[in-house]
């Protein structure tokens, strides 16, 4: 019996899983957008927590925990790397002398803060991707992609299957890594990422071949997939619409202003906390009555 990847899709009768693809994409897309582009730490933290709450509410606790752990590791890496490679900033916390390749290394509070903001973005993004992967049926994505990429099975596979394939490979390669002898070269994260990407692309090509064999690209004919309505669609349309509007406003106008250099400054405007509350509260809409 195979070990299931923590971010593998598992069909459940929860809100995100049963809702239609478009409103869910709008809803989670709002979180993704804000995590990608916002520079306001308050909004980023709220969006990350909100996305995690949404995941827990959909029964995807394993995926959320996994994404949080991976995101935290990447965030920490960002902070350390930025602290070492960036000497900008007025508040020097430590002077580490001359390092090979890096030259004079001064660790500044501003560089750490800047790395922290990037790390928050990465962590939030990881959580949203984890929730999407664990809760959104790849079949629905494939059906949606078929409408716009009828001839290219590879495009369809890359969009609908690359993350699930990578998740499966990650679990398998991780298991093999744990079985390596102590004298074998350890599987570092870089080697793992390289192998994962190459392997997933190879397997995506194989899956694309399978799709073609099923008749995917046949003469470019349109296939109508029956839309399965859900009573949760309305909920996600409304919440997703509001959150997307807030995310776009955040993207265009910004809420709070956070600057790392030359000194850390954070001017909070009323829009920032409001956006944070919206994204935090937005996570709760995936919870439903009677959920155990």
């Amino acid at each position: 019996m195979k070990k299931l990847s923590p971010i593998a899709y598992v069909p459940r009768r929860e809100t995100v899983q049963t809702a239609s693809l478009a409103p869910v994409a709008l809803y989670l897309g709002a979180y993704l957008l804000v995590c990608f582009f916002s520079s306001d730490p308050l909004v980023l933290i709220a969006a990350t927590v909100g996305a995690a709450v949404a995941g827990y509410g959909s029964g995807a606790g394993r995926a959320v925990n996994f994404s949080l752990k991976l995101g935290a590791f990447l965030a920490l890496t960002m902070i350390v790397v930025n602290a070492l490679v960036t000497s900008r900033g007025a508040t020097v916390l430590a002077r580490l002398g001359d390092w090979p390749l890096l030259g004079q290394v001064d660790v500044t509070a501003e560089a750490i803060a800047a790395g922290g903001v990037i790390g928050l973005r990465v962590m939030g993004t990881m959580v949203v991707i984890g929730v999407w992967s664990a809760c959104v049926d790849p079949d629905r994505i494939l059906q949606a992609v078929h409408g716009v990429a009828r001839r290219s099975a590879l495009t369809a596979t890359l969009i609908s299957r690359l993350v699930p394939l990578a998740a499966t490979d990650y679990a398998r390669i991780g298991e093999a890594a744990a079985l390596r002898g102590p004298a074998a070269a350890p599987v570092g994260r870089g080697a793992m990422a390289h192998r994962l990407l190459a392997g997933s692309l190879d397997r995506a090509v194989d899956v694309a071949a399978t799709l073609e064999l099923r008749g995917y690209g046949k003469s470019g004919e349109s296939v109508r997939f029956k839309r399965i309505p859900s009573r949760y669609d309305r909920r996600f349309w409304i919440a997703g619409g509001i959150l997307m509007a807030i995310a776009l406003a955040e993207l265009l106008y910004g809420s709070g202003r956070f600057d790392s250099y030359p000194e850390i400054s954070y001017s909070v405007r009323v829009e920032g906390p409001l956006a944070a509350v919206a994204f935090l509260a937005g996570g709760a809409i995936t919870w439903r009555k009677g959920r155990r």
Binding site: M1, K2, K3, L4, A8, Y9, V10, P11, D137, P138, D139, L142, A153, T157, R161, T168, R172, I173, E175, A176, A177, A178, L179, R180, G181, P182, A183, A184, A185, V187, A191, M192, H194, R195, G199, R203, D206, V207, A208, A209, T210, L211, E212, L213, R214, G215, Y216, G217, K218, S219, E221, V223, F225, K226
Partner: protein, 546 residues
């Protein structure tokens, strides 16, 4: 004219002087291949690894050249459609294809959705789709899987689903690339006879590439043997065996080798035929030793694996299930043990639990002298671009020496042959675990013979012997009974998470129907399992009989 007949216009498959070279390859994968396959024929495609079987099947379904690129000349036609002019999608309703690895052949979330997909792409009416899905599920014995998520299926279940998907559109031709490689002996036999039934009842032409010919030759109308990209033989199964004995003994079935060695004619096509020939040519009631099998003395080495009342639960995503149920198992240094059982019996879980990848819910498992486990996909162990980057230093060299692998440190692991990659992966698992007696107490391999021809399997047997000679116990989970006969001293048979048989190899693998070697099934003597034993018996017997 029925839809099937409409689609089966002309020959099922016709290749005319087809040559093909993969992009970037130096040699031709197919060279001047010409053949015709009539509608309703059942063809077994034989040949060693790299002989061109898979390429021929890919050319038959349009993956070559449309998906794999490369250079092609000559022509290939399925029915009235050229596979060089029509892509796999355009050929989907006239040819079904089942590739070696079922994991890459499943693209949907649930089994029902997977079966439904090709029908949707074809534009079938919902009622027709529902009927077709139900019918093919019933035909393949998988209606209970329809609502299952594909990630929860075992390899054998996936293989059946992949076959069902290839059949659901009722194509007049189906091409199968080693479909039984992940199946236990019972499921493998069932699948072959299911194909034969579909072939007879629906008139589907079947082209089946297989390494374990003893499984499928009796079902075939005709055998085509590939050799270095060319057709080496094309004729009846019995003539094929005659040709193989002379030209390619590694392709001959165990019973054919046994009869040939004993000088009995004609060569048998399958167990039933062998028994029939023996009834006519040999007086089977003459004196035969009741048991001529080797029965091994219990090994007295140190205990290197001790499982006590081992219970393991796993959650495949749809609730926890008991996978191992109170297993007691002891393996001693130097033993060579085959772990067998049906798909889903708990073999892989047993190995993974012993290696510490899975926590038991109760009971214990101990490997006091250390353990190395090679999982089913050796490629998962290879993450770097140079052999030298995977394994370096004296410990790495010792591991390579232990598995008998001598390749340049500069080689890219992905460029190694299948057997070499397997050895490299095993060396990676062994590296640094070889202090003291030289090897860890127990070395486990999970289904290592998938996709291997007989030559590679005999190399694997040599490797197991080599490791056992160095003092390790070797525990291999396998569905391949003939391989188990060549490698094992002892067989542990699991059934539904429990040990149902644990004894020396000849005792377990003789006298049965499924978990028995072909020699055992033909001669049905307690303890008789190997070809050599069969030859000894038949040769001596033949003299008495004549």
């Amino acid at each position: 004219m029925s839809p099937l007949a409409e689609r089966a216009v002309g020959l099922a498959l016709e290749l005319d002087r087809l040559s093909y070279r993969y992009a970037g390859a130096e040699s031709l994968a197919l060279e001047e291949v010409s053949l015709t396959i009539e509608p309703g024929e059942f063809i077994v495609l034989a040949g060693g690894s790299g002989s061109g079987k898979t390429s021929l099947l890919r050319a038959g379904c349009g993956l070559i050249p449309h998906f794999h690129g490369g250079e092609i000349s000559g022509s290939a036609r399925v029915g009235d459609r050229s596979t060089t002019e029509n892509g796999p999608g355009d050929l989907a309703d006239v040819v079904g294809y089942v590739a070696q690895d079922p994991e890459t052949q499943i693209v949907s979330t649930t089994v029902a959705a997977e079966l439904d997909l090709p029908l949707r792409f074809r534009g079938d009416h919902p009622a027709q789709r529902a009927r077709a899905v139900e019918e093919v599920a019933l035909a393949l014995g998988i209606p209970h899987l329809l609502s299952r998520t594909v990630t929860t299926l075992s390899g054998g279940e996936l293989q059946r689903v992949a076959l069902a998907v290839a059949l659901v559109t009722r194509p007049p031709l189906i091409l199968l690339d080693e479909p039984t490689s992940q199946l236990d002996p019972v499921s493998g036999d069932e699948l072959i006879w299911l194909l034969r039934r579909l072939n007879e009842e629906w008139g589907v032409a079947v082209v089946l590439a297989e390494h374990r010919l003893e499984r499928c030759l009796a079902a075939a109308d005709r055998v085509i043997a590939m050799d270095s990209g060319r057709i080496g033989f094309d004729g009846s199964p019995r003539d094929f065996l005659g040709w193989a004995i002379e030209a390619k003994p590694e392709l001959a079935t165990p019973s054919a080798l046994m009869f040939s060695g004993a000088g009995i004619e004609p060569l048998p096509v399958g167990v039933r035929d062998a028994r029939h020939i023996l009834r006519k040519s040999v007086d089977r009631s003459a004196s035969i030793h009741p048991s001529i099998g080797r029965v091994n003395e219990p090994t007295s080495g140190k205990v290197v694996l001790a499982a006590r009342r081992l219970w393991v639960e796993l959650d495949p995503g749809e609730g926890s299930v008991d996978v191992l149920r109170g297993i007691d198992l002891e393996v001693r240094a130097g033993e060579k043990v085959a772990l067998m059982g049906r798909n889903g019996a708990g073999k892989s879980t047993m190995l993974r639990t012993a290696a510490g990848l899975v926590e038991p819910v109760s009971g214990s498992v101990a490997t006091p002298e250390g353990i190395a486990l090679l999982t089913q996909n050796p490629g998962d162990f290879l993450v770097r671009d140079r052999v030298g980057d995977e394994l370096s230093g004296p410990a790495g060299e010792a591991a390579l020496e232990a598995v008998g692998l001598d390749v340049s440190a500069e080689r890219d692991p992905r460029d190694l042959s299948g057997g070499e990659r397997q050895r490299l992966a095993l060396a990676i698992a062994l590296a640094g675990r070889m202090e003291g007696d030289g090897v860890p107490g127990i070395i486990c391999l999970d289904e290592p013979t998938r996709g291997m021809d007989r030559g590679l399997k005999s190399h694997l047997t040599e490797l197991a012997d080599r490791l056992a000679d160095q003092g390790a116990a070797v525990l291999i989970s396998t569905h391949d009974v003939e391989f188990a006969v060549s490698f094992a001293d002892r067989v542990v048979l699991l059934g539904d998470g429990e040990t149902i048989a644990d004894a020396d190899m000849p005792t377990v693998l003789s006298g049965g129907w499924y978990f028995a070697s072909e020699a055992a099934r033909v001669l049905d003597r307690p303890g008789l399992v190997s070809i050599d034993q069969g030859i000894d018996l038949l040769a001596g017997h033949g003299e008495e009989g004549h």
